[in-house]
Structure formats: C-alpha cells, structure tokens
Point group: D2
Chain length 255, copies 4
C-alpha cells in the first residue's frame, strides 16, 4: 500500500473546513492529522501533527499569515480562503521561492478562487471556444442573499472570453440594440454579463456562444459545497510536485 | 365533407403573408381565395373573392384601416400586424359592436401580438404559476439585429407575473444585491428582465420561478416563422364564433 | 390575530417528518402540537394534543391505518407517505364519507404523491399544453441511487400528456426511427420517457413539446426536500375546507 | 491585398454544396472558381478552373473517387460528404502520401464528419472533462424524420467519454437501476445515450457530467446548415498547410 498523505485542515470549525475534514477522512490515500481552529498556533499545530499538506479555509484576515507560517514550517499549502490580492500573492510567491532555494526544498502553494471542477472547466472551455464565435454572453444565477453582482466567477469568465477574442483579432460583437440597454446586463470588458437572483438556486453559470445557425452552451451548477471537495483533494495530491505558487485549479488539470 | 373556410391574406407578398398563404393552402379545411398586396382595394378584393376570413400581416400604417374595411365588407379578421395601440383597438371594438348590432351579424376580430403557441402558453403558465413562488425572473434571447430590449413578449410576461403576485398579496422578491445593479437587468413592474443578443438565435424566452429547494423553468423557442402558423390557423377557425374584438391568442385556447 | 391551526406530525423522527415539523414551527399561522413517532398510539396522541390537522410522513405499512385512526379521532389528514393503491384510497374515501355523514362533520383527507409545487405545476402545464403540439417527450433526471426508472412523476406526466392527446383527437407522434430503438426511451402510453442518472442531481423533470419551428420546454428541479414544504403547508391550510378525499395537490391550487 | 484562395465546389447543386458556394463567394479571402455537378469530369473541371482547393459535398457513392481525382489533379480536398470507412480513408491516406513523396508536393485532404464548430467543440470538451466526473450521459435531440438513433455525433461523443474514463482508470458509473432499463437509453461503450425526436428541432446534443454537488452541462445546437460554413471555410484556409490526411475538424482548431 502506498503511503497516505498527512493532511491538516486550518479553519476546521467553519463550514468549508468541516466539509474538507470529512472529505479527507473519506479519502483512502489521505490521513487527517490535525484540525486547526482560530486562535491556535498554526506552525506548532502542523509540526506537532507531522502534516505534509495543510488546507486553509480560514478568513481573509488570517489566510496570508497562515501560508507564510506553513512555508516556514515546511508544509505544502492548498488555499481556498478568499481575500487574496496581487500583492499578497506576490509576497507568498517570493517567500516560497526563497525557502525552496535556501533549503533545497520543493514547497508548493496552490491558491484557487474556485475549487469546483465544473466551474473551472466551464471557464476554461469558454475561453478556448470564444475565438470561434461571433457572439458570447454570460448568465450567472445565484441565491438571492448574494450581495454582489455579477459573481467573481462570471467576471473572470467574461474577461477570459474578451482576452481570447482580442487574441484572435475579433472586433466587438454584433448588437443592434438602440433602446433598453438596462436589460442588456453589465459590460465586462465588452462581454455582456447577466445576474439572476432566485430563491432555491445556489451557484450556477451559463456561457452562450453563437454563430450563424448554431449555439454552444456551457453550463455549470454548484448545488452544494461538497462540490468543492474533488478539486481540493486533487490539489492536495498534486501540491507536493508543484514547487512555488500556483494560482487557479486549472493549472493542475493537465487539459 | 365539411365546407372549407374561404380565406384572404392581406400583405400576401411579405414574408409572414407568404408563409400564411402556404399554410392556408396546406390546410384541408381552408381555401385560399385571395392574395391581397399593398395598393389593392381591400374591400373590393375580399368581396370579389367571396372571402369569409381575412388574415392581415400588413404594416403598422395600414392594418387599422384594413380591419375597418373588412368589418364594412362583412369579413372576419385575424390580425398579426404590429403597431396597435389602446386607441386603435378601442376604435375597432366599437366599430365591430356597431356593425354586429345594426346588421345582426357576429363579425369577429382577433388581434394577437404573438401567434406562436409556445410563446402564448409560456406567458400564460408563467402568470398562473407566479403566485406560488418567492422569486421570478425573465430572460429573453434574440438575434443581435433586434433594436429594442427587452422584447415585447418578455415585457408582457413580466407584467403578467407582477399582476399575479399583487393579486396574491406577495411583496417584493428577495434580493440582497448591494453592488452591480447593472448586471441585474431591467426592472419591469418589479420583475427583473434580462435580454441576451446572440448570433444564431431567433426568438426565445425563459421564465425562472424559485422557492426554497425548487425551481420551475418555462422556456419557449421560436426557431422559424412557420411557428406562427398553427396559431394563425386556429384563429381563422375560431374567429367566426367569437363576435367582437378578441385581443390575444390565449383567449382562443380554452385552457 | 387569527387563530393558529393546531398541527400534529406523524413520522416526526423521519427526514420528511422532521422537515415538516420545522416548517410548521416556522409558519406564523400554525402551531406544532404533537410529534408522533413509530409505536405511539396515533389517536391518543392527536386527541391529547388537540390537533386539528395531522400530517402523515410515515411508511407504506402504516399510513392507511393512521388515516383511518385520524378520521375516527375527528382530525383532518394531509398525507405524503407513499404506498397508496386504488383500493386503499377507496377505503379512505368511503370512511371519510361515512364519518362526515354520520357525525355531520366536514373531515378532509389530502393524499399527494408529490408536494413540490414545481413538479405539480409542471405536470399540469404539460397536460394543458399537450393538445397543441405534434410531439411531446419527457426526460427525468435523478441521483444514481434511484432503483426504478422512469420516475413515478415522469410516468404520470406522460400518461397525462397521452390522455390530453387522445382527448384532442391527436394520433401517434411523428417518428421515423428505424434503427436504435433502445436509445428512444421507454414507451409510456405512446409518449417516450427518458431517464438520466447522474451523481450530483436530486430530482428533475423536463417536458419537451414541439411544433414546426417552435418548442415549449417545461422543467422542474427539486434540489432539496424543503421544496415540499410550501405544498404541505398549503394543504394544511386548505384541508379543513375540503371534506372527503382529495388526491393530488393540483386540486388545491385553483388554477 | 493577399492572394485569394481559388475554390471549387463539388456537388454544387445540392443543398450543402449550394450553401458552400454562397459562403465561399461571401468570404473576402476566397474566390469561387468552379461549381461542379454530378456527371461532370472532376479532374477536368478543377484543372480548367485553376482551383487550389476543392470542397466535396457529393454523395457516398462518389466522394472517394472524387478525392483520388483531386489528388491526381494536384488540388487540396475538404470533404463533408458522408459514407467514409476505415478502408476508404486508408486508401486516401496512402494515395496522398505517395503523391506528396513522388512529386514533392504537400497536398492535404481534410475529411470531417461534422463541420459545425459547436458540435466539434462540444465533443472535444466532453472528452476532456470526462475523467474528472463520476457520471456522464449524452442526450441527442433531432427532428422526427431522422431514421437512425442515436446520432453518429452522440455515438462518437459517448465513445470519446468512455475512452477518457478508461484512460483515467475510472470504473463503471454509479447506477442502482433495478427496473425500467428501457428508459435508461442505449449503452454505448458504458455511456448511456438518449435520443429525443421532436418536431421543430434540427440537431442538438447535450452532455451531462456529474459529481457530488455539481454538474457540468455542454450543449450544442445546430439550427441551420449555415452553421457548417465557418468550419468549412476554416478547413479551406488550413488544408494547404496540412499535407496528407486529416480526419476531424478538431485537429485544425489548435485547442
């Protein structure tokens, strides 16, 4: 039998953390060695437990410090907490590079804004397909308690579509609208994004791509936070062989 | 064999008119007796042909005068031309009532903004279902040459949903949006309406209704103008037994 | 303030029963007066608690006896348990009629195979629309642990479509299939029904209706058992004014 | 201005051929130099017109001979006609290799079973995504005049999904079905494929991929044969730089 990966979960008392603990315990190739909660000393906890990989589902105010502590402790990090900026990511990348050089280590950090495989794949496929179609729009649908519109995922998807179109030399999409622009959604980098808020829904995204006589539709549904677990476990398995900082689950999918 | 209905088509040279001529010719219980084009004397043409019912697919500037001429000529009218207002409809209703009273006739006029059965049924079902759901939104999708947004059908659907909610004493829908309102579509009577413009599409509408843990989705697709023909033929068959003005195909469906 | 409805829940320890208890407690116009579990004397429990309405989410082997006991105890019944047959329903109808006649009561029993409003409305709308379309098919989609195919709801929907087509004098649907019938789904009364089994899904149904150039699609999604609660509460509110047996939530919707 | 590509169309009188002629004429970088119809000498026609590329939308009985004639005439071939087998493709590959070696040419032949970009991309994305999901099923939807089920595209998609699952070491999908297998569609290499036949539809395919708590749906709609034209023109532009036989438009997309 192969060696199990020894995993610590930071933010273990939160909803995502608890779900991650359950998923790690259920994985045959992993062992949950530490549940770390707010207020605990992260470095001491992961060292004491002999963790090889730590999954961070804490909060924006804690996650960067946690990752630095993990790097100092020689533990790979998989991060699902939000609140990261270009600056905080750059500090982590620099720290990881320095540690790996000084100590001849191959420590990896994977930060992913979305661990749902369906969401990551939808975004990737939309970007790949975009240059082949005259028109592209994005509809995201969420529960009505969401305070921001459009969703970050929809915004990223639209930006990726826009970049692909620019790369292919495509101009603006056809649109003869003269009246009623308020029904045409938000303009994200030239791509129209529509946000639906409906009781009963969780988190969903549709990308519509159109040419004369044909349509390609890519839709992604997240019904439950367990949908993040296959992506988290995949990152836990791969982070050890990806030294330095990796941002985005798509880089681990070998598409 | 039963008697065939003798049908004239006004605007016979246009796209909808030509499609109607073909549909009437293909219907076993109808006979196409006149193709009337712009510039012809409508009353003379329908009388000369012995038409019982005339279908008007002319233009906004001609259709009201045509209907008055048909009433004077004693011919039932089925109208798919656009451009009607509350005032022009009121004048036709008054004229029909007067003719029917004076001459002891039962002349009927059916004016329908949309003859697609799927569109009419979608609107009707959305209105019927609306009072049972916390949330309701409308997405309409059309080809990118359309100049107005949202579509008239989507606007009517939203208004019917709003009326049903008011009738049931429902308040505003849940919506925690704080930022990004431009992605939330147009507000039609309190119902959010989103307009997608995509090359390859024709005319489509989705109504989404949500409750905790469930969704009802009603979608309608018009791929081709032949989709209007079942509704037109149904109106031709029924207009003779519906004296006076009827607005909307839904009243002929006996739901 | 209006009087609250005093509600007992039978099978209160089960998943549906517990969800119902929570929903009744959250409803401003209801009071949860008894949680009855397997092994308890139903009549004594509901009488002792002064219940006016009892909701039965027990098991096939217990539900009919429960309803008879409730009728004898003078309590209205709302039944979501499965396992009912034409015979057991007939016995309940006869019992309710006798009790109401002898004691000058207006006791009601509502038995519903599906309390999800979206599912009930989807079935109803499909039946109403069916006579206007050449083609109709049903796709049901469920989690892969489901042992039977197609679902009871899909089967009922297909039967309702078939009945509506017969009533309208429609013949068989167009279908030129010569090879590959095994891909064409089950034949339920002349209507093709397809069953998809997919990890991540819960319970979903699509009805597709087609005419030349147009499609009407009615889709229903049940993501969670809380979706049954609006229908259950609606039945609790109405059962007191519907003496005798009512089968199917659709009769309470006043469509 | 860059040189225009000189294009001949074989089967120019057929529906696909005529659509291709119109598309070539509308393309700024191409010139339509020959419309070749049944009975004409293909080699003489293309040589006489000075064609560089020929598009073949003829019939199964003619297309292989046409391609051999084009190779002998030194003209690149883009083939959308059906009826190809492993054997006929092998003969063309061998012929192309021999001509290119003997005459130091770089003649290319592109044979594509489906030129709709949306269909080709849907198949490709389904295959790429398949190894990340527990469940996958395919639904294809067509007009009711289609004689075979399931469609060739759906069959190929299912085979590609099955191959990707095998490659990733995935076992059979979860499926607890005990009764009602006839509703579960055709088994294509372990992947369930469902065929819907509905008046009003043209050619559509949905791939559903499911994990706990999430779904990825890839849908493709072909509303009209003009949808094949972007793919045909792309092949015309690229065939000159792809010596030998290429089977499948996906190889030209540089995904």
């Amino acid at each position: 039998m192969t060696q199990q990966i020894r995993v610590a979960v930071l933010g273990a008392a939160g909803r995502m953390g608890a779900t991650t603990c359950a998923a790690v315990e259920a994985a045959a190739d992993m062992e949950l060695v530490a549940r770390v909660e707010a207020g605990q000393d992260v470095a001491a906890a992961v060292r004491g437990a002999g963790a090889q990989v730590a999954v961070d589902f804490t909060v924006p105010g804690a996650t960067e410090a946690n990752v630095h502590a993990l790097l100092d402790a020689g533990v790979h990090a998989v991060v699902g907490a939000t609140g990261w900026t270009d600056e905080s990511r750059a500090r982590v990348a620099e720290h990881a590079a320095r540690v790996n050089a000084e100590r001849e280590r191959g420590l990896g950090v994977v930060i992913a804004p979305n661990f749902a495989l369906s969401a990551v794949l939808a975004m990737r496929f939309a970007a790949q397909a975009a240059r082949f179609f005259e028109s592209a729009e994005v509809i995201e649908l969420h529960h009505p308690n969401k305070v921001d519109a459009p969703s970050g995922t929809a915004r990223h998807t639209a930006e990726a579509i826009a970049a692909a179109r620019r790369g292919a030399g495509l101009g603006p999409m056809p649109d003869a609208t003269e009246t009623g622009w308020e029904a045409r959604g938000a303009d994200v980098d030239g791509v129209r994004v529509h946000a639906v808020r409906l009781r009963g829904l969780v988190a969903h995204e549709e990308v519509l791509l159109g040419n004369p006589g044909e349509q390609l539709l890519i839709r992604q549904d997240s019904f439950d936070r367990v949908s993040f677990m296959p992506g988290v476990l995949l990152a836990v398995r791969q982070v050890g062989s990806r030294p330095g900082l990796t941002v985005g689950l798509e880089h681990l999918l070998e598409l």
